[in-house]
């Protein structure tokens, strides 16, 4: 495959913006000056084009927000292996239209990312596309089978940024303990999908009154909480670095909050559906709202918001899981889990700001500098000399999410029809404008 784009050259000034840098709590009228692929300068003095030489191309942001490009730390790409559901290219287009400039993809492809060649394949393909930058997770266990450890040290050397068994929980406490310990050799972060498989097996939605009425087998919230509790102890015992993906229950938040107070090296994220929807969304057997973990109760949703407010939850990730029509237009029990989420990460996260749960900078932090710091990525903040990855967005612009209008190859959004506020206007990657509304 040939490189599909030309590298950015010359200088571009993005002026007249509300300049936001969550990492340094910067929120001023200003602008950014790029030189080729990197940021040359930024600050309030760039609010207008005064003093810039004529060769600088000027882009007027017209008062819109200008922030570091978003980082999405949990995305399923279906390439290699299931290209009919999504490709690196379709995900790249979808992510750039959502303002995401870096994403981290799970290892559950075919073949599984438990081998250095897959890490290099994904990185090389994504680089040549020139869309959203892709960083791969490596597998914790060989073939994601949960038994023998994968070559985490060598995978990390070839570019895996962290390790996870993807949408599978690492169930064996013995293997988890060994893996946490082994990962410490190279200071690697492990990411767990916290769900006790024996309790989740055969379930399709949150266990509770609604599941009983609908006649569906439920997945109890304790499936999540016991694994969170177990892994907190294992992380404490091994002194390993552990991150919980898509936390969905109130009880998990409590356990994580107390563990953090004790100084255990853990972190966690949640996905937009878990603070913006509850189990009622699956009423009427809507398979697009069939997610893993399942949408929980209203009390859980409110606890997730509290967790985001007090910092117990560090990151918001889209948990993008493209599924084609054939996998979703099925009786509820037979339909696949998961929702497309790249394009809705920004507006749904901004709901936290509009609903006054978080400030604009606090909300952005969870999709920029927090995931960058956790994964050791250089992006996610404004820095002179760093790659010029930017998002320009209007936080107030209202729009209706329409699945059919999504650029994602698979259209399985749980937010179809939702009225929302905040839209990405332009996305810049390495100094190139890759999306314009």
């Amino acid at each position: 495959m040939k490189q599909k784009f030309k590298k950015a050259t010359g200088r571009v000034a993005y002026i007249n913006a509300r300049l936001l840098d969550p990492a340094s709590d910067l929120d001023v009228a200003g602008g950014v000056l790029s030189d080729g692929e990197s940021i040359a300068d930024f600050g309030p003095h760039l609010v207008n084009a005064d003093g810039l030489s004529d060769e600088v191309k000027v882009i007027d942001c017209k008062g819109a927000c200008l922030a570091p490009g978003l980082i999405d730390m949990r995305v399923q790409l279906r390439e290699p292996g299931e290209e009919h559901k999504g490709t690196l290219k379709s995900a790249g287009i979808s992510a750039t239209s959502g303002g995401i400039t870096s994403m981290v993809c799970l290892p559950n492809t075919t073949p599984v990312t438990d081998d250095m060649s897959v890490v290099e394949f994904v990185a090389r393909r994504a680089r040549k596309l020139g869309l959203t930058k892709v960083y791969p997770y490596g597998a914790i266990t060989q073939g994601l089978q949960g038994n023998e450890m994968a070559e985490m040290g060598m995978l990390a050397e070839s570019g895996a940024v962290a390790f996870t068994d993807g949408i599978r929980a690492l169930a064996s406490p013995k293997v988890m303990r060994k893996a946490l310990s082994y990962a410490r050799n190279y200071n690697l972060l492990l990411v767990q999908h916290p769900e006790e498989p024996s309790l989740a097996d055969g379930g399709h939605m949150n266990a509770g009154d609604l599941a009983l009425r609908m006649g569906l087998t439920g997945i109890p919230s304790v499936a999540e909480t016991i694994m969170v509790a177990r892994d907190v102890r294992l992380a404490e015992d091994t002194n390993g670095r552990l991150h919980f993906a898509h936390i969905s229950t109130a009880e998990s938040i409590g356990i994580i909050r107390r563990a953090k107070e004790r100084g255990v090296k853990i972190s966690c994220d949640t996905a937009p559906p878990y603070f913006s929807l509850n189990e009622l969304a699956v009423g009427d057997y809507r398979t697009f709202a069939k997610l893993s973990p399942p949408l929980r109760s209203e009390e859980d949703r409110q606890a997730i918001i509290e967790g985001l407010k007090d910092g117990t939850i560090d990151v918001i990730a889209s948990d993008h899981a493209p599924e084609d029509e054939d996998s979703k237009r099925l009786p509820f029990a037979q339909a696949a889990f998961g929702g497309a989420g790249l394009e809705t990460l920004l507006p749904i996260t901004l709901e936290l700001y509009h609903n006054k749960h978080l400030s604009l900078l606090q909300a952005l932090k969870k999709i920029t500098s927090e995931p960058a710091d956790l994964l050791g990525l250089a992006s996610g903040r404004l820095e002179k000399g760093a790659a010029c990855d930017l998002v320009i967005f209007d936080p107030e612009r209202g729009w209706k999410i329409d699945s059919d209008q999504l650029t994602s190859k698979s259209k399985n959004s749980p937010f179809d029809g939702r009225l929302t506020q905040g839209r990405c206007l332009r996305t810049v990657i390495d100094g190139r404008i890759v999306f314009e509304l």
Partner: protein
């Protein structure tokens, strides 16, 4: 013999481990071994201190080099040696360790050399035997004669043990060689470093008095001696380590990693080696720096010294108790 002389000797009836030995006891054995080493090299005659004595080699685990080394040592000193490999003998057929002890007692041995797969088994046997007992390796606990032969090799090459920095690298968790060496080297005033991935080296190993490293280059920085340990195949298939190639990449001893050690660092391995797993062939066969062959040679000398002292001590003990 003056009181002082007696105090400076190794006076135990058995040699079950290095832990708890005083430096002078270790030095006593090493000094005697040094003499044997010189005589062995010259193929010179040695005093037949074990003439008319019976040494039983009882190996519950397969071993070639240790059992051969003990056999050679006992024969050099004129002793009668019976080597029993329990893997293939009738003792194994349901007999308890205590019953084995009674059986062997009936043969009136003077020294029993034992290797057993369970930690502490040699100690249990020693409590029931009417002879001296030498531990030739018990489980993942101790292998005292290996530590003594390693010390002898280091002393001959480096002149002294005190003040040296020694890195023990590899499967420390499952290694009796490592445990005995840690005790001996720290008793003799060397600084001991342990180097291995976290799964083979819990940080609590530091309680043994060694520094713990998980990065090979850091751990080898400026060391005088690099001791590699054998890695069992079954540990490399995902339970303790992801793979053989990942282990070699990060923890295998090659010239590149050896660069951080002192230029004249001594390379040791208790054998048998897994070439390309824990040690690169070039390094293992480096005539200048590798002491691996010499370790085997020193094994016989060290074991001769051990047989000499425990036989004498057992005689003294019997004399005292029979009076």
């Amino acid at each position: 013999m003056s009181t002082r002389d007696r105090e400076l000797r190794f006076t135990h009836r058995h040699l079950l481990g290095i832990e708890g030995l005083y430096p002078f006891e270790i030095t006593d054995i090493l000094d005697r071994a040094e003499v044997y080493a010189a005589q062995n090299r010259k193929r010179a005659a040695v005093p037949a201190l074990l003439e008319g004595r019976t040494v039983i080699n009882l190996f519950f685990e397969n071993s070639t080099r240790t059992s051969t080394s003990f056999e050679r040592a006992a024969k050099r000193l004129g002793g009668d040696v019976i080597t029993m490999n329990v893997q293939t003998s009738s003792i194994k057929k349901g007999e308890t360790l205590i019953d084995t002890a009674s059986t062997l007692n009936a043969m009136h041995p003077d020294v029993l050399v034992v290797r057993h797969g369970d930690s502490g088994a040699v100690k249990l046997l020693s409590q029931k035997m009417n002879c001296a007992v030498l531990n030739a390796g018990d489980g993942t606990h101790e292998h005292p004669t290996q530590a003594l032969l390693d010390a002898l090799t280091i002393r001959r090459r480096k002149g002294n043990i005190t003040g040296l920095t020694v890195a023990i690298c590899g499967d420390v968790l499952h290694s009796r060689v490592a445990r005995s060496n840690i005790h001996l080297l720290s008793a003799m005033g060397a600084r001991v470093r342990l180097v291995a991935p976290t799964t083979l080296l819990p940080s609590s190993m530091a309680v043994l008095g060694a520094e713990v490293f998980h990065d090979m280059r850091e751990g080898l920085k400026d060391v005088d001696v690099v001791m590699m340990l054998r890695l069992q195949k079954e540990r490399m298939e995902g339970t303790y380590l992801p793979s053989q190639r990942e282990y070699f990449h990060f923890y295998g001893l090659d010239y590149d990693k050896l660069l951080s050690a002192k230029e004249d660092a001594l390379i040791m391995h208790p054998g048998p080696m897994n070439r390309g797993v824990e040690i690169d062939s070039d390094v293992a066969d480096d005539l200048e720096r590798s002491a691996i062959q010499e370790q085997v040679e020193m094994g016989v000398a060290a074991r001769m010294a051990c047989l000499e002292v425990v036989t004498a001590n057992f005689d003294a003990w019997r004399l005292e108790n029979e009076q």
